[in-house]
């Protein structure tokens, strides 16, 4: 690798004295960053630390209240000159910047289709690009019809192919499964070999060690440190992020008491992309569902919660049958859910944290003070960084939004939890506490079904069911090794 260790190397981008405020919230407080040309530079920090805000400043989407940005020593272009920015930097934003109604092909070449568009050429180029990045979507598919993962892959392909020499990736891996992440890293390495510079943001710290040479840590809107990755241990990195000493351990709940009372019973259930599945989850048990994107795991979880109607079979909670395809019935039966896409199904962006968090449990008469205090409880309990319970969730950082979705799922104190990628975009510390919540729920006699691509999420599970093309192909008890699980997921067991 061409890692130039900072000193003396030319900088691809440099920002100094950057301050950004949103009303009373200070998102960035006189921070700086300097990314050496050819480097892959990690930016890490807890949810709400200001990472995405810095990204918006570095890509010219937002003018900082103070501070300046230089590319290769030259002042950044004026905000209005979008074309000039695009030449300097390409970016995968944390929040989707695809145009939902347009085709994948057009999104890939948005505003660079050429003067007079030849659609057949565009389609061909798009197909090539998708193939090159091994993104299995049709170039003419409408982006609105893609899954979160597919859309993320399209946006990554777009940014990597834009031809810019500096690329920012803001949590590109939060919604991707292992193989897709690996392909992304391969691609990044080969671009880096060609001299492309990256700024990479992720809450999966092992990824930082895998692809980055330098790391910058922000905490509470301030710059904490910049150092070569090689010289920084993981506990030190976590300490820099959290300000507290001590490593982190994701709770694995191995000491959870077992029970044999079934709470959730899935019997012969068939639906979109899966067929004739039967299993039970006992009180105090956490069951993981793993599988590739096409395995039907998401569809299964969504069917259990009533977001999709089953084509056959039943779901019961505590022995009583739950009407299929009916969310209110599922809620009444005591099922709570973190849906797959927080923007699409998880949150009403313009409503407050309090309102979103208690949406599933509103009493007939809503008292503002009670609403607010339950909002405050959610903020405290899930470690949400916000100005207060009345803040609209659209103002929150991505990870904090995800925590609100978790709060909403658990608000009704459900007997069964259906959690789809529950920790997507959540920082290490918060992930620990969210998984701790899952563990605590199980200890309190609840049953949980965790659908995730993240091994950490699956580690709290007592059992992991692996789906392949809609059927259970393997089941692992606690203590599985990564390799064997991944092999099963890929259908190679």
């Amino acid at each position: 690798m061409t890692a130039l260790d900072g000193v003396g190397a030319p900088t691809a981008v440099e920002a100094t004295g950057v301050t950004v405020r949103f009303g009373r919230t200070v998102a960035l407080d006189d921070v700086h960053i300097s990314v050496a040309a050819g480097d892959t530079h990690a930016l890490v920090g807890r949810n709400g630390a200001g990472k995405s805000t810095l990204v918006s400043v570095l890509t010219g989407m937002r003018a900082p209240d103070a501070g300046e940005v230089r590319f290769g020593g030259v002042d950044a272009p004026g905000l209005a000159d979008r074309a000039a920015w695009r030449e300097k930097v390409a970016c995968v934003y944390q929040k989707s910047t695809a145009v939902p109604e347009l085709s994948v092909a057009e999104n890939l070449f948005l505003n660079r289709q050429g003067r007079l568009i030849s659609w057949s050429r565009l389609r061909r180029q798009a197909a090539e690009l998708l193939e090159q990045y091994e993104v299995a979507v049709h170039p003419e598919a409408r982006v609105a019809d893609l899954t979160v993962e597919q859309r993320q892959l399209v946006e990554i392909a777009r940014a990597l192919s834009a031809g810019a020499r500096f690329i920012i990736l803001d949590e590109p891996t939060a919604q991707l499964d292992g193989p897709a992440i690996e392909r992304l890293f391969d691609r990044m390495r080969s671009l880096q070999a060609d001299g492309v510079t990256f700024l990479f943001i992720s809450h999966h710290l092992q990824e930082i060690y895998e692809v980055c040479q330098t790391v910058t840590v922000y905490r509470d809107a301030k710059h904490i440190l910049t150092a070569p990755v090689a010289g920084l241990s993981k506990p030190d990195l976590i300490e820099a992020m959290t300000g507290e000493a001590g490593g982190l351990g994701v709770p694995d709940g191995a000491d959870r008491p077992r029970s044999s009372v079934p709470v959730l019973t899935v019997d012969g259930l068939s639906g979109d992309g899966f067929e004739d599945l039967s299993f039970t989850v006992a009180a105090g048990e956490v069951v993981g569902l793993a599988g590739s994107a096409s395995s039907g795991k998401h569809e299964l979880a969504e069917t259990v919660y009533g977001l999709r109607a089953p084509s056959g079979g039943t779901v019961s909670v505590h022995g009583s049958h739950v009407r299929g395809g009916d969310v209110p019935a599922a809620l009444r039966a005591g099922i709570g859910c973190v849906p797959r896409d927080r923007h699409h199904q998880g949150l009403v962006a313009d409503l407050s944290i309090a309102e979103n968090a208690s949406m599933t449990v509103l009493s007939t008469l809503v008292r503002k003070s009670a609403l607010r205090s339950s909002g405050r409880t959610a903020i405290a309990e899930y470690d949400i960084k916000a100005a207060g319970p009345d803040q609209p969730v659209s103002d929150l950082s991505g990870g904090n939004q995800q925590k609100v979705v978790m709060a909403r799922a658990l608000a009704a104190d459900p007997a069964v939890l259906v959690l789809i990628n529950p920790t997507a975009g959540v920082d290490v510390k918060s992930k620990e506490s969210l998984l701790g919540v899952v563990d605590a729920q199980a200890r309190a006699g609840k049953a949980a079904l965790v659908v995730s691509d993240e091994l950490d999420d699956l580690r709290v599970c007592d059992r992991v069911l692996v789906l392949f093309h809609g059927r259970v192909v393997a089941e692992f008890d606690r203590g599985w090794r990564d390799g064997e699980l991944i092999a099963a997921i890929e259908g190679m067991s």
């Binding site: 200070v26 301030k222 959290t242 199904q345 503002k368 309990e381 470690d383 960084k385």
Partner: protein
């Protein structure tokens, strides 16, 4: 739940509470104050009780349409046909009651049925809109635009273009009586708006409108029966338009074929000026009500000024834009 948090996240500055809701509610207050001052300067009778009460009464029917439309807009739909409902609902109800000789249908239902039938017609229209939109999956804008034309046409067909005069006592009573010095119509609006503000602010069903209008899928995933909410809101809108129809019929003493025609633009204007988003999920009834009030004051002032017919539209349009600018400057918020 356990696992107590890690340390309250700092850096979030300042005292809490950024009450966007409340804040926006008051957005029109500066513009209204300006109008009150202008009015007082323009004409000595402007600030008299009589004049202000007349403004309120004249705006009462519009305000009910705005109330209905606001609920519908918050839930993410729109209903253009309200401006026809305000005509056809009382027309049909009255035609069922009065003798054929007075242009009735010759069915001669007992007179007391007039108001209930009128409200029922409103509810049915709302229900039909709901059916076409939700069950058949037709475009809400187009359905209610088609309905707007069709209902107006039905009224023409029903009455053969004649105005209905023989208006039942119950309508006339509501249109003319005053209770405690205020016209009954004003009281009715006050009560309905108060109820609306309560429901939207404090009842689960009311809050769910915001969720449905803000993000339908998220509302569904939170267990809200989205279709049922939309349907309910369309029916309520229809009933409110029918009530407005009763009041207007009572106030004018007749049902003209064109009753309400052209009102829908004003309805949208009042709602949007009052901070209701056409995108759904946003706004309050208090805001909408101030929108209605603002339009009423503007019209009243222009009337007292006796602006010549040739300049009245130009002034009205200019004042609306000016009011937007004032609101914009006062709140500092870019409008949607």
């Amino acid at each position: 739940m356990t696992k107590a948090l890690t340390r309250p996240s700092a850096a979030v500055a300042g005292p809490p509470k950024f009450r966007l809701g409340r804040y926006q509610d008051l957005a029109l207050v500066p513009a209204i104050v300006v109008l009150l001052i202008v009015g007082a300067v323009v004409s000595p009778i402007f600030l008299t009780a009589d004049n202000l009460v007349a403004v309120l009464q004249q705006q009462s029917e519009l305000s009910l349409l705005v109330l209905g439309q606001t609920l519908i807009l918050i839930a993410g739909k729109m209903d253009l046909s309200l401006e026809s409902t305000i005509g056809i609902a009382p027309a049909l109800a009255i035609a069922l009651v009065i003798p054929a000789a007075s242009n009735g249908l010759g069915i001669e239902l007992p007179a007391w049925t007039a108001i209930p039938v009128c409200l029922l017609v409103g509810a049915l229209i709302g229900g039909l809109n709901g059916f076409l939109i939700l069950k058949l999956g037709l475009s809400g804008f187009m359905v209610t635009l088609g309905m707007l034309t069709m209902l107006r046409g039905l009224q023409e067909a029903l009455t053969k273009g004649q105005t209905l005069f023989d208006v039942p006592e119950s309508f006339l009573y509501l249109g003319a009586t005053t209770w405690l010095g205020l016209p009954a119509a004003v009281w009715i609006c006050v009560v309905l708006f108060a109820a609306g503000i309560f429901v939207l602010g404090y009842l689960r069903q009311g809050r769910s409108l915001y969720a449905v209008g803000g993000n339908k899928e998220a509302a569904r995933a939170a267990g809200i029966r989205v279709d049922r909410v939309v349907w309910a809101v369309l029916i309520i809108g229809g009933v409110l338009a029918a009530i407005a129809g009763v009041l207007m019929t009572g106030r004018l003493g007749t049902v003209a074929v064109s009753q309400g025609s052209g009102m829908i633009f004003k309805v949208f204007a009042a709602a949007v000026i009052g901070g209701i988003s056409l995108q759904g999920g946003k706004g309050t009834l208090f805001g909408a009500l101030s929108g209605v009030l603002m339009l009423g004051l503007v019209e009243n002032i222009l009337r007292l000024l006796s602006v010549s017919g040739f300049y009245i539209n130009a002034s009205y349009g200019a004042v609306i834009i000016l009011a937007l600018v004032v609101t914009r400057l006062a709140t500092g918020k870019v409008q949607e």
